[in-house]
Symmetry: C2
Subunit: 211 residues, 2 copies
Amino acid sequence: GTVLAELPLTRSFDVDTVLVPEQIPHAPVFVVCGGAVGLQHILGDGRRTLSTLYLDGDVIDFGEIGDTAGTLVCLLPVSGFFIADEELDHRKRTDPGFRAALEANYARQNRFLDQHCVDLARKSAVEKLASYIFECRSRQCLAGGRDIHLILMRIDIADYMGLRAETLSRAFAQLTQLTLIDVRDANHVQITNEPTLRQIANGLVRRSGYL
Amino acid sequence: GTVLAELPLTRSFDVDTVLVPEQIPHAPVFVVCGGAVGLQHILGDGRRTLSTLYLDGDVIDFGEIGDTAGTLVCLLPVSGFFIADEELDHRKRTDPGFRAALEANYARQNRFLDQHCVDLARKSAVEKLASYIFECRSRQCLAGGRDIHLILMRIDIADYMGLRAETLSRAFAQLTQLTLIDVRDANHVQITNEPTLRQIANGLVRRSGYL
DNA sequence: CGTGGTCTTGAATATTATCAACGGAGGTGG
DNA sequence: CCACCTCCGTTGATAATATTCAAGACCACG
């Protein structure tokens, strides 16, 4: 994100705001500086999924996402800036560092999506929560830190990890009872047994381990 | 894929071959021309997940995937060609069409991953199978076609959709009994009621609909 | 002090995973 | 040619897990 210098097209959005390509005409890229944006999909009967999270430093390319892929919703108050069409084209053509930054952003998003698929496909609720906690840490570049900011509300974490809010709540209770985490408040947990929590996130212990 | 002209670094691989970056030194990109490659992740206790499929025309960037993200496994006999480091750099610098093709590939992979997350997060087994059938069709550019090639073996479809093979088998049985599909052989199904199958894939009918 | 929203808990239900066994297709060797 | 084997896919019974629905707890806010 640091390579992309801030431009005058800075904006802020409230929670639940839907970001649409027409927000700023001819500005197809939005760079998140604070808050959280989620790519939201609603199934026919109302089931909600958050497939991608855009946090501080992430680049949202409206052109890439298109119309069929869901809607971009502000999950927290969001600040960031748009990049105008001509500016984008110009810098893509002339600035190799800019191109590299964009490419790195795509690759980064791809890795997160890939890992997210693994988390969703086969992991239990407890494993999903453990994985989410570590994802929060790595996304916030707090390598090794024990105090984790959970970023989202429970319902959004649940919709991101493919769970119901009730099931997620029970997963918090289980990890707490196993003294692997300590829930400070709704938005913060402290990791009290990182090796075991890591093993659970990686699916190492399943039946005998944490029951 | 058509923009990327074929080069002399053509190779073929048998089923179960693991593709590693060192396969061809200094050739970090592989373009799939036939067969199927899967990005495979194994959890600590052996659970297997296929997070991404690379089919005809897809571009695999070893540099992007890195080491931590799983292993690339040939799910079918694979043919394709590598692009050498210097060739890649040169064309990235001088050929805007090449850059655009690479970027489009990233965006395409991103959309597939995104949709895949939605499929994995909240859909039932039957809904997942319906979604997979439509994904096969759209990947093979058979818009509107009724005869679908399932591409993969049952076990690989299951690991891709986050199911056990037994559960997937029961999903096939359910869709067949509802006369929504007709299983020709292990690799082919015919869609016999596309609107309803589409509704199931989209999560429109859940409890009362197909039971 | 009520109110709306978020989060949690409990009991019943639905769905999936697990374990075991069977059937069929394809290959191999006597 | 046929017994034999292996791999793949299916089916059945049971256990584990998540969802659903209902209700209560907690907190911020007017």
